[in-house]
Amino acid sequence: MIRHICSLTCAISLLAVFLLPLSAVGACDDPLGCVEVAPDDPIVVGAMLVMSGAINYLGEDTLGGVELALLDRDYALMGREIELVVEDSLCTAEGGQVAAQRMAADPTVVGAIGTNCSSAAQGAIPIISESGMVMIAPSNTSPSLTNADIAAGGSHRPGYFRTSQNGLIEGMRLAQFAIYALGAESLATVHDGDPYTSGLAQAVADTFADLAGDVVFEGAVNKGDTDMSSILTEIAVHQPDVIYVPLFEPESNFFAAQMQYIAGLDDTIILGGAASFSSSFPENTGEAAIGIYVSGPLVSGDAYEKLLAQWLDEYGSDPPSGYHAHAYDATNLLLSALESVAVVNDDGGLSVGRQALRDAVAATEDYPGLTGRLTCREDSPFAGDCSPGTALAVFIITEAEVYDDNWPPPLAWNFAVDSFD
């Protein structure tokens, strides 16, 4: 009898242990559930950035932006400490998938900043969306990521936002730059199959053709290729005025360095993408980089100057790339939305509705960011785009960047000032 009573007591105790948290969750009426932050626990913010590999400088750059945004708030929100959890999303779909799985597996993470690469975002988006979380990307530009039409190759899912400009906008502006500023009549594009590079190459080619330019070659190289002589020879057959090459390093280095050895491309201009907007590009390409145009983010204003001074204080050098301001804006967007939806429970804990947080980010309108006034759109193919798309410029690489470590390079065109629209 005593044994039966003991068993019953144990069973009731176990049931109570399991039901107690459920009852707490039950208090949350958000359709996607809530993140419950206990009274003494920190608010956990995630970051899925590229921390290793050829373009880890982009991860360092954006991580700096995230950290400075948190530092502005003394790593605290609503009287609680903010804890930053960083996962390496690499620059591949698999890397994004693994980073997203780790984020989704941690029930305390309220939302994440990332990814850097569009390919990583393609791996991360389904998992983040399915888990009810929010991700705000600071440097994704692939048009497919904000296109909700899956049948048309879109991969947008609810919960995905970005503060970087859409490749459709960037592509349109760069095609305009090639035609109106460089006087190009013919164009070749080269990508590497990555959603970022292929999306941009397509956007530039489409606009160039719409503006009555002649797109004479659209090709691709393989990631990891070192010998570009074959594709360069094929391009030389068509003798384009401009080659648009949004490749990552080191393929972009190989492409630019080997072009000088191919007969028939002496007068052709290379227009590189933001993936080459790093001090390592002229350093690794050498003399052949001189005269190459690269697009990249351009942010200005007093608030940005203050951020740069903060950066110098904190890290002792200049930012390694140009997306730190976008990451800063992304973090502030997330924290502001969080602040507006978090509910303080009776016990002093916080409850953050996941759907409410998504809605709050999506409702962002005219938010004063460093990269412009941010308004998040819901209409595909711009679903989740929050960037005004003005923080974009074209730079030209000179001897100073190759030999004297000067960075950033001189401005060739500032779209915020001189628009072709």
């Binding site: 590999g53 050829a54 190289v221 057959v237 080191p250 190989f254 390592s280 050498g286």
Partner: protein, 354 residues
């Protein structure tokens, strides 16, 4: 040639002969279409050929390591690509230092020689350690065992060097005297490509002299012929095998620096994988175990890779022909294995060796 026409008809021979005819036909049609269209100028063909020859020289130097080890131990050292990486990756830091001090451009030939010696020594050390630690204890075990070990060693070396030097891409500084081009008959040939070909040729001739004209070379050949008889003749088999690994390693390390002059970018812990596989293909193409065969196979593969996509594939209307460069290399491997398993210069191996 056409065995199926004889009394001993075989469907296998018939299929292989049909395949052979189709391949020749595709190559002829593709090449004819390309050449008759006149899309690519003569100067551009020469540019492609020169680039291919330079790339092939690097394949050849690495391939020699495969062929030397196979010749003496009948094993494929799949970690040889990483031996190449070890020298190239380690020396990039020396090259940066030489560039910072200005020595690289003040005494370029001496600086390159120092770099080649340094890379050669690093790769030689790695190759010898590999033999001593990973392969020697397995000597005499079934052939699959050292093969799997080599693959494991390859990963071990990759991630060891990643741990040592990080995962970021590095680049060799550019040497000023190797920049620019020389004009031959109105066609510009890059100086760096001439340098690559000539320096690889010197190293290959040096190896040929070592193997054919020195006592240690004679010992290597003796061990390659028959280890037991060589041992009875008083040759220290273990030392000769270690020496062979060391020579292969030195050539791979030298290839790493020469490659750094040719394609300065993209130096990282994973850089040896693809050249390693290509060099293995080159060694098989030339006839594995055969030193001139490895040299010829490397050069042949480099040129075919450079010219093939534009000459054959583009002529057949295959889109994105340049992306199929690797397909050409590995198709060559498959074709050699089907039609001439002993390679271009190789001899049919006896039952014992095969």
């Amino acid at each position: 040639m056409f065995k199926w026409k004889t009394d001993e008809f075989s469907w296998v021979d018939f299929t292989i002969d049909v395949l052979r005819i189709l391949i020749v036909l595709a190559v002829v049609v593709g090449a004819w279409n390309t050449l008759s269209s006149g899309r690519i100028t003569f100067a551009q063909w020469v540019n492609l050929f020169a680039a291919g020859l330079s790339q092939g020289s690097i394949y050849a130097l690495i391939a020699l390591g495969y062929t030397l080890v196979y010749g003496i131990l009948l094993m494929i050292n799949f970690a040889h690509g990483e031996v190449f990486m070890a020298g190239a990756f380690s020396t990039v830091f020396l090259a940066e230092a030489l560039n910072r001090t200005g020595f690289l451009n003040e005494q370029p030939l001496l600086a390159i020689l120092v770099m080649i010696l340094f890379a050669g020594l690093v790769s030689m050390t790695v190759a010898i350690l590999l033999e001593r630690v990973a392969y020697r204890p397995l000597r005499g075990s079934p052939r699959l065992v050292p093969l799997i070990t080599a693959i494991g060693a390859s990963f071990f070396l990759q991630y060891t060097f990643r741990g040592l030097y990080g995962s970021a891409f590095k680049a060799y500084p550019q040497v000023k005297i190797l920049q620019g081009a020389v004009s031959i008959g109105g066609i510009n040939i890059p100086i760096v490509q001439i340098f690559v070909f000539c320096s690889a040729l010197v190293l290959m001739l040096g190896l040929y002299w070592l193997v054919e004209r020195t006592r240690v070379g004679k010992a290597m050949r003796a061990v390659s012929e028959n280890k037991e008889v060589a041992r009875l003749m008083g040759i220290d088999i273990d030392w000769v095998i270690m020496f062979t690994f060391g020579v292969g390693g030195f050539l791979a390390g030298s290839a790493g620096v020469i490659n750094g002059m040719f394609r300065p970018q993209g130096v990282n812990f994973f850089m040896g994988f693809i050249p390693g596989i290509k060099a293995f293909t080159a060694a098989v193409l030339g006839g594995i175990g055969n030193i001139p065969g490895a040299m010829l196979g490397g050069l042949f593969l480099g040129v075919i890779e450079a010219i093939g996509p534009n000459l054959v594939l583009a002529g057949l209307g295959i889109p994105g022909a340049n992306q199929l460069k690797d397909v050409i290399a590995f198709t060559m491997l498959v074709l050699v294995l089907i039609f001439r398993p002993q390679g271009i210069l190789g001899e049919r191996l006896s039952e014992k060796k095969a």
